[in-house]
Amino acid sequence: MSDNVLSGLAEIVEEVAGVAADDVTAEKSFVDDLDIDSLSMVEIAVQAEDKFGVKIPDDELANLKTVGDAVNYITSNK
């Protein structure tokens, strides 16, 4: 798993949802552990698209349950 992608994603999550970047670790669920709702997920996806040069459509976004899922998706699609 890419540490750069993870740390970049953690910064975005901190900015959008106010979750401390250190708490954004691979095994965490966005909804259950980090308390991030569906609209914040869209904001995170939009910023991740800009930052990593990747497309994250809404139907793909629904499959990204954990931080690790998102990191893997970004790593394999950028």
Binding site: D37, S38, L39, M41, E43, V46, D58, L61
Partner: protein, 325 residues
């Protein structure tokens, strides 16, 4: 070859009167939570609404338009005889004909007015102001009453917790008149029919359906550039804008667009319309209603530079810079 006479063009057009009307019945988040699976906290977090107004059963788009229009004409210091045209931006008339505008004109005592409805959904008010501004500048009509009015509760399934918490009823109106100076900037507008499915009223059940995440993504990424373009077309720096009045769709969309404006030079003390908190989403009525409420509360003043932007079903969008009457 024969040429035809053209009307005497006006130097400019401006908004000279403003008014609004809201139904009496207030529906709070707690009222909704009592009848469906939702909560005050959930609604505040997702859409930022605390209260919304709902029209009475026998109170329609035309009734609300007449009440808002009367106030706008009075505010302009005019009488109905001075008004030559009526445009009602609406997407919630009970049937497609007759339109609202002709009935509104007659009820207001405006005789033989040019009158038509305009459907650009939540972008309707800004589309109608742009249309009226050009008609007035061309010299075709001197004063036009522009109304945004909606009875969205007629088209909202009251058990659908994704839409019933958002949509509400009301009307807002302005008078667009000819002026020595131009105080309605050129419109930045457009549409994207490839996304027509994401906000729609289905023939099958006649209720509004909305793909929330897709609309949210579109609004939070595509609308700030429209607002920036509107300022550019008017020749106004963002730092000169006093008031930002976007369509009151969702407080989180409003905050996201405002954030982009701040990153592009908008002032820290930019006044941002957040009328959605107490009024809900009233589609084409939301912008004039927000401005009227803010002006009545003394938050904004006559002469302020206002950046408006509407966006919604179609998808369609429009924005322009105007001076607050």
């Amino acid at each position: 070859m024969t040429t035809f006479q053209a009307p005497q063009a006006a130097a400019g057009s401006r908004i000279i009167g403003l008014g609004s009307y809201q139904p009496e019945t207030v529906v709070s988040n707690h009222d909704l939570a009592a009848r469906m699976d939702t909560s005050d906290e959930w609604i505040r977090e997702r859409v930022g609404i605390v209260n919304r107004r709902v029209a009475a059963k026998d109170e329609g788009v035309v009734d609300m338009s007449v009440l808002a229009g009367t106030k706008a004409i009075e505010d302009a210091g005019l009488t109905p005889e001075d008004i030559g045209g009526v445009i009602v931006a609406t997407c919630t008339m009970p049937s497609t004909i007759p339109n609202a505008a002709a009935q509104v004109a007659t009820r207001l005592g405006i005789k033989a007015a040019a009158a038509f409805d305009l459907n650009a959904a939540c972008a309707g008010f800004c589309y109608a102001v742009a249309t009226a501004a050009d008609i007035v500048r061309a010299g075709t009509v001197k004063n036009i009453l522009v109304i945004g009015a909606e009875k969205l509760t007629d088209w909202t399934h009251q058990d659908d917790r994704s839409t019933a918490i958002i949509f509400a009823d009301g009307a807002g109106a302005v008078v667009v008149g000819a002026g020595e100076t131009n105080e309605i900037g050129p419109v930045a507008w457009g549409s994207d029919g490839s996304m027509s499915e994401v906000i729609r009223i289905d023939d099958r059940d006649s209720f509004i359906h909305q793909e929330g995440q897709t609309v949210f993504r579109w609004a939070t990424t595509q609308i700030a550039p429209v607002a920036l373009r509107a300022a550019e077309l008017a020749g106004v720096e963002l730092s000169d804008v006093d008031v930002f009045a976007p369509h009151q769709a969702n407080l989180r969309i409003i905050e996201a667009i405002a954030k982009r404006l701040h990153k592009n030079g908008a002032r820290e003390d930019l006044k941002i319309a957040r009328d959605i908190v107490e009024s809900g989403n009233t589609s084409s009525a939301s912008i004039p209603m927000a401005l009227d409420h803010m002006r009545s509360a003394g938050e904004i003043s006559s002469g302020d530079v206002v950046l408006m932007v509407g966006f919604g079903a179609g998808l369609s969008y429009a924005g322009q810079v105007v001076r607050c009457p």
